[in-house]
Subunit: 358 residues, 2 copies
C-alpha cells in the first residue's frame, strides 16, 4: 500500500492536531483551469468526461499539479446515480442536466432499483482506483454523492429547477411516495459511496445542494433523515484508517445542530454563517469545512489574503477546520487567485496550530 | 378622508389586538391571475404596465376582488428607482431585467443623482394616489422599494445575476466606491418611500432579495446598514396613524436579531426559519410576516389548509403575525388554491386571538 504523504486533511476532519489548516476547493477540477477545458474538449460532452476513467483521473489531478492542495476530489457528477437507475441523463449547453425519463408517478417510483455498482457505475469505480494510483499518496482522495433530496428534485423535475414545483408537490400531496423514492435513492447512494471506499476513496462528502429550499420540518424529514440513514450505512474504516464523512447542505446554516447529530464527522459551511458561531454551536462534536464566499476569488490577491486571514481568525486556534469555499469555484476565476488563496491559508494558519507563520 | 374599513393588517404590524390573523401574499397581483394576464396584454410590456397608473391600479386591485385580502400592495417593480436614476431599464422575455447603462466605474457612480420623485417617478405616485382612491378604504395600501444592496447588484451587473461577480468584486476591492453607490441609492429609496407615503401608502416594505447572498459581516455593512439608514429617514406617521415598516431579507433567517434592531416594525420571514423560533428570538420587539413555502400552493386545498394551521400554531396565540408566503406567489399556481389559503387563515386564526373558529 502506498504511504499517504499528506494526511493533514484527514487529521483535521477527525480533529486531531495538525501543523496548518488544510485546504481544498469545491469544484477545484473545473472550467476555471485552461487544462480542464482542454481535457473537456478532447472528451466531447461533459458526461463523456465523467464516464472516461482516464480523463476523469486527468482532470482530478490537474488542480493538484498547480496548487499544493491537501485533498483531491473525484471528478464526477451527482447525477451519475439516477442515470444508472435508468433515467437517461443528458446535458444541454447552457441549460444544464436533463433526464429523458423523469419520475412522476407511483409506477415510476416502483420501477426504480438500486443500480449494480460494478457494472452500471463501474466507470466511477475505475476512475477512483486509477486516481488513487496516480495520486501516489500525495493527498487523500474524496469520494462523493448527492443527497437523496437533492437527487430526487432532479429526478422528479426531469432536470434543474428554481421552484421545485413538481418535487415539492409530490412531497406535500404524496409524502409516502416521496419517502419511497428517497428510500431507494438513499440505499443506492449508500452502496455507491461504499463502493467508492472499496475502490480507494479515503473520505466522503454528501452534497445537499437543495436541502436549503425546505422548511426546517421538511428538511429534517425529507433531507436530513435520509442523509443520516446513509451515514449509518457507510463503511467508516478502510486500509486501517477512519473514512471521515462530510455533510454539506447549502443554505443549511440554521440547522447545524441537527446536522451535527447525524453521525457525520464534519459539516460543510457556506459563507452566510460565521465560522466562530458555527464552531460555538457544534464545534466540539464535528469538524467544520468552509467557508469563503466563492466571489472573493474575483477580488485582488491582497484582498483574498485578508479574507483568508479573517476566516482563519474566525475559526480560531486548534484543529477541526478544513478551509474551503462555501460553494464551487466560479468558472471565470483567475487560477492565480486560487493559488493566492492556497498559499495564504497554508502560511497564515500555522500560528493557530502552535507554529510560526504569517 | 375615507375611513379604513379593515385595519387588521396595520394593527397586527403594531402588535395591537386583532380578531384574526391578517393575510396578504407577495406578488398577489401577478401572472397566476388570468385577469392580470389580460391587463398585461393590453399594456404591452411589463414596464408599460408599471408606468401606466390606471393599469397599475387595475392590477393592484384584482386580487382584492377575488379574495378577502387584508392589504393591497402597489403594483410596481423595485427597479423603477435605478431606471429613474438614468440607467435605462428594459425587460427581455424570459431573461428578466437589464440596464442599458450599468454602473461600473467611479465616474458612473459619481454621475448618479437622486431622481425627482414628482417628475421622474411621478407615474408611481399617481398610481399610489389612484389606488388609494379606488381601494375606498377596503384595506390598507403597502408601498415598497428594493433594498440598496439589492438594487446595487442589478445596477452593477446590468441585470439579474446568479453569482454577483461584478457587484461583489466592487464590494471587495473598492468598498468605498460600493459605499458611495449604496449611499446615493439609500437616499433615493428614502425619498421614494416618503413620496409614496405622501401619496397615500399606509405601510412600507423594503425587499432585500439578495442580502442573503452575503456573509454575516458583509450583510451588516453593505445591506442592513443602508436599510437602517432608510428606516431612520422615513415618515413614520401619516393621516394621524403610524406607517409601519417591514424589512424582508430573503435568506436572512440567521440575522433576525440584527434586523429587528434596525428600527423597523416587522420582519418578513421566509420558510427556512420556524416561526416559533423567530418569535422567540425577536417577537417582543417586532411583528413577523410570513412564512409559508410558496410551493405549498401547488398542493391540494386540504394540504394548504393543514399547512396554514401548522404555521398559525407555530406563531401561537396573540397578535404580531401577518400571514404571508415566504416569497412571491408562483405564476403557475391555481387561483383557487390561493383562495383556500386566505379562507383557512381567516378561519383557523380566530382561536389564537380569543375568538371561536376552525
Amino acid at each position: 500500500m502506498i504511504q499517504l504523504k499528506n494526511d493533514t486533511f484527514l487529521r483535521a476532519l477527525q480533529r486531531q492536531p495538525v501543523d496548518y489548516t488544510p485546504i481544498w476547493m469545491m469544484r477545484q477540477a473545473g472550467r476555471y483551469l485552461p487544462e480542464y477545458r482542454a481535457s473537456r474538449a478532447r472528451a466531447g460532452s461533459f458526461m463523456d468526461l465523467c464516464m472516461n476513467p482516464e480523463l476523469a483521473c486527468e482532470v482530478t489531478l490537474q488542480p493538484l499539479e498547480r496548487f499544493p492542495l491537501d485533498a483531491a476530489i473525484l471528478f464526477s457528477d451527482i447525477l451519475t446515480v439516477p442515470d444508472a437507475m435508468g433515467l437517461g441523463l443528458y446535458f444541454t449547453e447552457g441549460e444544464g442536466p436533463h433526464f429523458e425519463r423523469p419520475v412522476r408517478t407511483r409506477e415510476d417510483v416502483r420501477r426504480l432499483g438500486v443500480p449494480d455498482m460494478a457494472t452500471d457505475l463501474g466507470y466511477v469505480m475505475d476512475a477512483v482506483s486509477l486516481i488513487r494510483r496516480e495520486l501516489d499518496g500525495r493527498a487523500p482522495l474524496i469520494g462523493f454523492a448527492g443527497s437523496p433530496w437533492t437527487l430526487a428534485t432532479y429526478m422528479v423535475e426531469g432536470g434543474g429547477s428554481k421552484a421545485f414545483a413538481r418535487s415539492k408537490a409530490m412531497m406535500f400531496d404524496q409524502p409516502d411516495l416521496m419517502h419511497e423514492l428517497l428510500a431507494v435513492v438513499a440505499e443506492a447512494v449508500t452502496q455507491y459511496l461504499n463502493a467508492q471506499v472499496a475502490s480507494g476513496a479515503q473520505a466522503l462528502m454528501i452534497f445537499d445542494t437543495w436541502g436549503g429550499s425546505l422548511t426546517p420540518r421538511d428538511y429534517r424529514d425529507f433531507s436530513l433523515a435520509y442523509m443520516a440513514r446513509i451515514v449509518a450505512g457507510l463503511t467508516r474504516e478502510a486500509e486501517g484508517r477512519k473514512v471521515p464523512v462530510i455533510l454539506f447542505t447549502k443554505g443549511g446554516g440554521q440547522w447545524l445542530e441537527a446536522m451535527a447529530a447525524s453521525g457525520c464527522d464534519a459539516l460543510g459551511i457556506d459563507w452566510t454563517t460565521d465560522l466562530a458561531d458555527a464552531r460555538q454551536r457544534v464545534g466540539s462534536r464535528v469538524a467544520l469545512q468552509g467557508n469563503m464566499d466563492p466571489c472573493l476569488l474575483y477580488a485582488s490577491p491582497d484582498r483574498i489574503r485578508a479574507e483568508a486571514a479573517a476566516i482563519l481568525a474566525s475559526y480560531g486556534p486548534g484543529t477541526g477546520h478544513v478551509f474551503n469555499l462555501g460553494h464551487g469555484i466560479h468558472p471565470d476565476v483567475e487560477p492565480d487567485h486560487a493559488a493566492a488563496l492556497v498559499e495564504a491559508v497554508h502560511e497564515l494558519s500555522r500560528p493557530y496550530h502552535g507554529g510560526v507563520g504569517g
